[in-house]
């Protein structure tokens, strides 16, 4: 149900672009104004969100340690998963961000008669998440050839690697295929896995459909409904040089594509997609595990009411003396005389 809502929402968005830019011919709105607004909202939203997080202090060092700590000299430390230095943290974060190290550990639990539990390795999510993010990144970088003139060698190289297979007239990009497969997997997983389905919100389906919509409109534009590439580049270069113009010959499908991208940009800072920024700020991962070695300061630390030793001794002095425990203040009367 939630998936259907979200799908419907994405269809509605396509329709908006179709009517607005296609039938309505509002090319300037969809080709220039909305993209500009979207980029501004994205950047401002992203930065504000990170600042908002950053404003809250990290009062305690709470790294989740995933290996042996720095300890006695003859015990081998796991420097990456249990870093005691900043360098270690950088490595840990590198593996986390670049290779999704934590997700790689994923297992799934199985119940067997016996009674018995077993844990099977479960790396599919890791694999497809990785494929998804890397193809997304590559596609994003490939698009830079629309925003640069002359196109730097790096982007050209990326383009030719991605198009290595050279299938069809406009070369087939590997990443186009991979991302469709990966998004489909991520969606199917949400629907098929009962636990994941149970916790999924419309906010989980929506970005998947949106991204799928972007990818499919891109693919359509490239392989099926041809659009004038030269005109598109003229438009995009106009945008980056702040000299926007809308050339003729840019098909509606392009406006749909751009509109969906704009929606994604606007939606991004408001949503869970901010995990892109948040992963760097997670206090269980980005801190060195050295709180017994170094004292850290909690900016909002404040004195609290405690039960002091004096109060404790006052309460129990007599019994302490009787039991032969040392006290700070002697009893006013010796124990024997009190009886």
């Amino acid at each position: 149900m939630k998936a259907i809502y979200s799908l419907f929402l994405v269809f509605a968005l396509v329709l908006v672009a179709l009517l607005g830019a296609g039938a309505g011919g509002m090319h300037y709105l969809f080709g220039v104004i909305i993209p500009y607004v979207a980029v501004v909202l994205f950047v401002v939203g992203f930065v504000l969100r990170v600042i908002r997080w950053g404003k809250s202090p990290v009062p305690f060092r709470i790294p989740t340690t995933c290996g042996q700590e720095f300890s006695l000299p003859w015990i081998k430390q796991n420097k990456i998963d249990n870093p005691s230095t900043t360098w270690g943290v950088i490595l840990r974060m590198f593996f986390e961000v670049v290779l999704f190290r934590s997700l790689f550990r994923n297992t799934k639990v199985e119940l067997h008669d016996g009674p018995k539990l077993a844990y099977a390795s479960n790396k599919w999510l890791w694999l497809f998440a990785l494929l998804f993010h890397y193809s997304f990144l590559t596609i994003f970088l490939r698009h830079m050839r629309f925003f640069t003139e002359p196109v730097p060698g790096f982007f050209q190289m990326l383009d030719s690697i991605d198009g290595m297979l050279q299938i069809g007239a406009p070369t087939l990009y590997l990443t186009d295929v991979v991302i469709v497969v990966a998004v489909t997997y991520l969606f199917m997983r949400r629907v098929v896995n009962p636990q994941v389905r149970y916790v999924s919100l419309p906010a989980d389906y929506f970005p998947l459909f949106l991204i799928l919509g972007i990818v499919l409109s891109g693919i359509f534009m490239r392989y099926f409904i041809k659009t004038d590439i030269v005109a598109v580049k003229e438009l995009t270069m106009g945008l980056v040089t702040f000299n926007p113009k809308v050339p003729e010959g840019v098909g509606t499908i392009f406006y749909i594509h751009v509109f969906l991208v704009s929606v994604l940009l606007i939606y991004f800072p408001l949503s869970k997609l901010m995990h892109m920024g948040g992963v760097f700020l997670s206090p269980t991962r980005n801190l060195a595990n050295n709180s017994r070695m170094k004292t850290h300061v909690n900016p909002w630390n404040y004195p609290v009411k405690i039960h002091t030793y004096e109060a404790y001794e006052d309460e129990f002095r007599e019994r302490m003396v009787e039991a032969g425990l040392p006290v700070e203040k002697p009893l006013e009367q010796p124990v024997e005389n009190k009886e």
Binding site: S56, I62, L72, N82, L125, P194, V196, V297, N298
Partner: protein, 543 residues
């Protein structure tokens, strides 16, 4: 309500969530899975708000008039104080990688015990009250209204989380549901909604220094009693000192070790070790009756309460003028010491220069890793002694034991304490087998009763939560004949014997210093006939 038989309980586990959306499934408070409400007297003793008599099974929880404002204000304050809270509220993608990692979910199948959903219970309110999208789009954005039902749900499920952090290991962003539970419990405590198995220990710790409310003379008596036993077994009587000014080291252990089997045997192990070190090397260790608890039940209540209870450790070290502090085998005590203590106590005791940087006076080893807090774990201390050949050990006395080791959650996921305990086991026992990889070290499972959930009335929950741990023990029990489960946590020692009995009969539980005590050859001791439990030593069975 009687706890079902293991087979029945296992057969009842169903990991398929219901058809209905979780927001439409009202909370149903099941006996056997919750702990009794806090005794108002205990809350009052430490000045906690809204102490009252209430019953979780009643409809009316007698919430204070302005409960909603209290919660909203409470969330707001915590968002400003904890980046972890803010970030964790915002970035979960509900990938579900954490879903089947929680021992309570594995054992109960209750979907709200999936860490992601446990956190959503709070996140949905955060979205509804603190985000634009949630306010406008409501349920579509995953938001819901704050109602008394929600508070009940929080209470029920935040006290079905042992704050073990296992879920955090698998989360791609390190989202720590334990952290969310900790803050959720803080919010509940603002409404006077604690459980008694936490509130009463807190009050006891505050007054008497330990969670059982043992008064100073009784504390000393209990330890004297262990000395009697040791004397009987070894012919040597340790003479521990209490509250002794000018001792070298202050020793603080969870009071569970002083009170309940099998922790008591571990306690005897400590006493024997300290006696040995005094005789052989002149090291003076003192116990404190004021700081007579290492475990900190405040941690299960609020950050503030944790700090209030922790203060006594440094205050006592300062008063006694010791060089540094040695800490016993305990789980959450060590998480607090490791991650919170130095930071929290600055305004209570200033910087910690009244203590020395810890150096073992016997081996000369500098405990670099404890340079700032000046508190050393007894397991690393003993491991270092063994490494330097400073202890005379007779391993064969533990030959009746086929050991495995349970990494307690807090030391393993909050410190990274993995090799030291294994080193001690291997040097005091001849037979040691680790459990399967997915169930040890940072992937270790909770005993099922951590974070204050070790009450009697929630036994069913504990058996459910204890299943994954017990099951891994069962594996090595069947494969290698393991009959003893070592651990370094007093709560483990309290909880695991029951769950072993239930799921894997034939496996007992021990702390590591019990093993040390058994193996340690005390100067001038008589020939031992029994181990610390009074059972005949291997080879002495027929005498």
């Amino acid at each position: 309500m009687a706890t079902p038989k293991p087979q029945e309980l296992f057969a009842s586990i169903n990991h398929r969530p219901p058809k209905k959306d979780w927001m439409d499934v009202p909370v149903e408070i099941k006996p056997g899975r919750y702990c009794y409400a806090a005794n108002p007297k205990s809350l009052e003793a430490v000045g906690m708000p809204h102490a009252r008599q209430w019953n979780p099974l009643d409809d009316d929880w007698k919430l204070p008039e302005n409960w909603k404002e209290i919660i909203i204000q409470g969330i707001r304050e915590r968002l400003e104080k904890f980046r972890s809270f803010k970030v964790f509220m915002d970035i979960c993608v509900r990938c579900g990688a954490c879903a089947d990692k929680c021992h309570y979910f594995i054992g109960s199948g209750d979907p709200k015990n999936m860490p992601v959903l446990r956190a959503e219970l709070l996140r949905s309110i955060y979205r509804g009250e603190f985000t634009k999208a949630g306010k406008i789009l409501g349920r579509f954005a995953g938001a819901r209204k704050l109602t008394p039902e929600v508070i009940k749900e929080w209470w029920y499920y935040f006290f079905q989380c042992s704050e073990c952090r296992r879920c955090s290991v698998f989360c791609p962003y390190g989202i720590d549901t334990a952290e969310i539970t900790i803050l959720g419990r803080e919010l509940l405590n603002l409404l006077g909604l604690n459980i008694d198995w936490i509130a009463t220990p807190v009050a006891n710790c505050y007054r008497t220094g330990n969670h059982l409310g043992i008064q100073p003379h009784a504390f000393k008596d209990m330890i004297d009693f262990f000395c009697d036993d040791i004397e009987e077994i070894t012919g040597i009587r340790p003479e521990p000192s209490f509250n002794k000014k000018g001792a070298d080291i202050l020793f603080i252990t969870p009071s569970g070790d002083v009170f309940a089997d099998p922790g008591t045997y571990t306690c005897m192990g400590y006493l024997m070790l300290f006696h040995y070190l005094k005789e052989e090397y002149g090291l003076e260790v003192t116990w404190s009756t004021y700081a007579s608890e290492g475990g900190n039940f405040g941690f299960f209540t609020s950050h503030e309460m944790m700090k209030r209870l922790n203060a006594k450790m440094y205050l006592e070290a300062k008063r006694l003028g010791v060089k540094w502090i040695l800490g016993g085998e305990c789980g959450h005590m060590w998480r607090v010491i490791h991650q919170y203590m130095a930071t929290m106590q600055q305004d209570m005791v200033g910087d910690l220069d009244f203590l020395e940087e810890p150096v073992s006076p016997i081996t000369g080893t500098k405990f670099e890793n404890a340079k700032a807090t000046k508190m050393v774990h007894i397991v690393e201390f003993t491991a270092d002694l063994i490494k330097h050949g400073k202890l005379k050990l007779d391993k064969s006395r533990n030959d009746n034991l086929i050991m495995t080791f349970h990494d307690s959650c807090n030391p393993s996921r909050g410190m990274g304490f993995h090799e030291e305990p294994r080193y001690i086991i291997k040097n005091t026992c001849n037979h040691f087998y680790d459990m399967p990889e997915n169930t040890i070290r940072e992937q270790t499972f909770c005993c099922g009763g951590g974070a204050g959930l070790n009450a009697g009335e929630n036994e069913e929950l504990r058996m459910m939560g204890g299943l994954p741990r017990a099951n891994a023990v069962k594996y090595v029990h069947e494969k290698y004949g393991v009959n003893m489960l070592g651990c370094i946590c007093a709560i483990d020692r309290a909880v695991l014997p029951n769950s072993m009995n239930y799921w894997v009969p034939g496996v007992q539980v021990t702390g590591l210093h019990e093993l040390v005590g058994n193996a340690l050859v005390l100067p001038g001791e008589q020939e031992r006939e029994t181990n610390l439990r009074g059972e005949p030593l291997p080879g002495k069975e027929d005498i």
